[in-house]
């Protein structure tokens, strides 16, 4: 199913997603940056032919940015128009605090989706603060939102919820317990190669395998920011754009900004570059023999 969405899934991800849907529980995905955690949700939404609703978390996220907000300009205009009407105060109040004046934010949107259950992606939950986590628990436990002026709004379809985290802080046990859990690591050589070939169709076969090998070697170095799959793809796209026939020291040096984003990492990588290229060439020769 995921295969056709150009997402190379392994048995672990597939099983976790399947269980999450079958059991109706949110799926918490953790792993280092850039291994495709967010992509999972996108691929899932595509595969289910449903809408993806994304909530990017940050510190200080609160109800007005995640659930709903009243549309104040519209309310004001409406009150102006109604000035001459004979409607009582209570009637006016009921009017402007009705659903027509409600701006739906991601969580409410996900709950009130009419056609089919959407995929709700709560991205980088570790960046939000504790209050938001508690609040999210409430929403995720009964898929119901209470707006004081309107009342409770129940989910028409239970959204498929995917949460991602980079482990920048520990999530609460309560939230973890409510979710199924899956960990994604950097892909193996074969898997990464598969991903590159699927996602960057224009790439020369030799380049793709050379590049994956360099990436795998890079990840074994002690860098402050280890490049993820996203970086591999950026680099692959750059090499395609440059129409590089193969990798050599010069081309790698020119394009290494695609996957190394830290000054000291670049220096460390450059020092190792001859060795990496060398090792790669040897294996290349072995292959051609």
């Amino acid at each position: 199913m995921l295969e056709e969405q150009v997402y190379i899934a392994d048995a672990g991800i597939a099983t976790a997603l399947y269980l999450s849907m079958a059991l109706g529980k949110p799926l918490l995905i953790e792993g280092p940056a850039g291994v495709g955690k967010t992509e999972i949700a996108k691929a899932l939404a595509n595969a289910l032919r449903t809408k993806l609703i994304r909530l990017q978390c940050y510190e200080g996220l609160d109800a007005t940015t995640t659930l709903y907000e009243w549309n104040y300009p519209k309310q004001l205009l409406h009150l102006k128009l109604e000035e001459s009407s004979t409607a009582s105060e209570a009637e006016k109040e009921a009017m402007i605090f009705s659903e027509a004046f409600l701006l739906k934010r991601p969580l409410l949107q996900a709950i009130t989706e009419h056609d089919r259950a959407p995929v709700l992606l709560i991205d980088e939950i570790d960046r939000s603060d504790e209050e938001f986590e508690a609040f999210l628990l409430e929403v995720l436990s009964d898929y119901q939102v209470t707006i004081p002026e309107i009342g409770a709004i129940r989910a028409t379809h239970r959204p498929h919820v995917v949460l991602t985290s980079n482990r920048s802080r520990d999530l609460s046990d309560a939230l973890r317990r409510r979710c199924l859990y899956h960990w994604i690591d950097y892909p193996s050589m074969e898997k990464e190669l598969e991903i590159v070939r699927a996602k960057v169709p224009g790439i020369v076969e030799a380049v793709s395998s050379q590049l994956t090998r360099v990436m795998q070697a890079t990840r074994t170095m002690s860098l402050s920011k280890i490049p993820g799959v996203a970086e591999t793809l950026d680099w692959a796209n750059a090499l395609v754009a440059l129409q590089a026939p193969g990798l050599n020291e010069q081309i790698v040096t020119e394009t290494l900004g695609c996957f190394l984003k830290d000054e000291s990492d670049i220096a460390a990588f450059k020092a190792e570059l001859p060795r990496i290229i060398d090792a790669r060439c040897i294996t290349e020769q072995e292959r051609s023999d």
């Binding site: 392994d10 048995a11 996220l61 009150l79 105060e89 520990d170 046990d173 074969e190």
Partner: protein
């Protein structure tokens, strides 16, 4: 699913629980349900499914894997492994991509950042003279002691002023609170007459200080208590405790009294003052009674030299529990100030993996360097 499997699952879950995985009955039910939805003949699939349901963190993976192997292999009811080509291929691919215990890797990674943090931070621009700032607490006079609590009060005032990202309604401010204003406007027929405002709520960081007052800390503990006393009297949300062989809460004792009176009261109340140390037991006691008060907005500071006569395992267990609840766990060790000191005592060794920051606390400069770490 055959009944036998449920029994086995329950025993397996109990075993997981004994290894500190948070497996509640509700997880067991979920796991049983999950097993009904998958192909239980396929061991790999059972493994992944149960792992997805029963673990909550990648740190649990190694222990889970080990127990899983033990449980689902040893039994005579081992499901027959299906050896179709694709499955075997899949399995070998998985094992090749899976690296040695993730938990260890994480442990090492944390260890790395931690030791970088633990380098004593040099702070320029100290208001008092260099010599006083660098002077070891063990050589302090009474007037200099006063400086310690002044420093504490200053630090706390600065911390309390940091705004959070959240709003609260106020009468006068710079930002209009539209929601409230509109509601008010209904009274005047929809005309906005009275505006209400909102402002950023101040950050509410809570502080918990647990101070070692055993014999080995004698020179420092009175002084660090002075620091705690300073914190206590300028910031409402400070809880303070002292321990030697057992834990005593001293929050009330320190409040609104002169330091000498507070100290007198303390000496009367605290048994084992300047006696032996049982850090692990004392922290376990803290966890029993006070852990519920700790949340991610709490900074926990432990002041101790790590000389522990109890078992290191107990200390490690107590700290790991505390670290999971607290926003930050800081261990201040006065001995770290001396160049030659290395945290080799058994207690300190056990504690290191579980603290966010390990820092010195032997002079004014080191206390001042603490400030940025108190902001969450």
């Amino acid at each position: 699913m055959p009944e036998l499997d449920v029994e086995k699952l329950i025993v397996f879950c109990r075993e997981l629980r004994e290894h500190n995985l948070s497996v509640t009955p509700s997880e067991v039910v979920t796991a049983a349900t999950a097993l009904q939805m998958i192909d239980t003949i396929d061991r790999e699939e059972v493994f992944i499914s149960l792992r997805t349901v029963l673990t909550t963190s990648v740190d649990d993976f190694p222990i889970f894997e080990e127990l899983f192997k033990r449980y689902w292999n040893s039994s005579p009811h081992t499901p027959v492994q299906r050896d179709t080509v694709s499955k075997t291929a899949l399995r070998s691919k998985r094992t090749s991509s899976r690296q040695p215990p993730k938990g260890l890797e994480f442990f090492l990674k944390h260890w790395g950042t931690f030791s970088a943090d633990a380098q004593p931070v040099k702070v320029p621009g100290a208001s008092d003279t260099e010599s006083a700032a660098k002077k070891d607490f063990s050589e302090f006079t009474n007037e200099e002691l006063e400086e310690v609590s002044r420093l504490a009060r200053r630090m706390v005032r600065r911390l309390a002023r940091k705004p959070s990202r959240r709003w609260r309604p106020v009468r006068r401010g710079h930002r209009v609170n539209l929601r409230r204003s509109l509601r008010l406007s209904l009274k005047t027929g929809g005309e906005l007459v009275d505006l209400t405002y909102k402002e950023r709520r101040p950050k509410r960081t809570k502080l918990v200080v647990i101070c070692d007052v055993s014999g080995s800390m004698d020179i420092y503990s009175r002084l660090l208590l002075q620091f705690v006393y300073g914190l206590q009297n300028s910031f409402a949300k400070v809880e303070s405790f002292v321990f030697a062989t057992s834990l005593v809460r001293i929050t009330g004792d320190l409040k609104n009294k002169t330091y000498q009176r507070a100290l007198d009261r303390l000496s009367a109340n605290v048994h084992g003052w300047s006696g032996g140390t049982r850090i692990g037991a004392s922290l376990a006691m803290f966890n029993d009674q006070w852990l519920r008060r700790i949340d991610k907005r709490t900074v926990v500071i432990i002041l101790s030299d790590g000389w522990d006569t109890g078992e290191p395992e107990k200390l490690a267990a107590a700290l790991s529990l505390l670290k999971r609840r607290a926003g930050r766990l800081i261990w201040l060790n006065p001995l770290l100030g001396s160049e030659s000191y290395e945290p080799l005592t058994r207690g300190m060794q056990a504690a290191l993996p579980f603290v966010h920051l390990f820092a010195p606390a032997h002079d004014l400069a080191s206390l001042r360097a603490l400030e940025p770490h108190l902001v969450l």
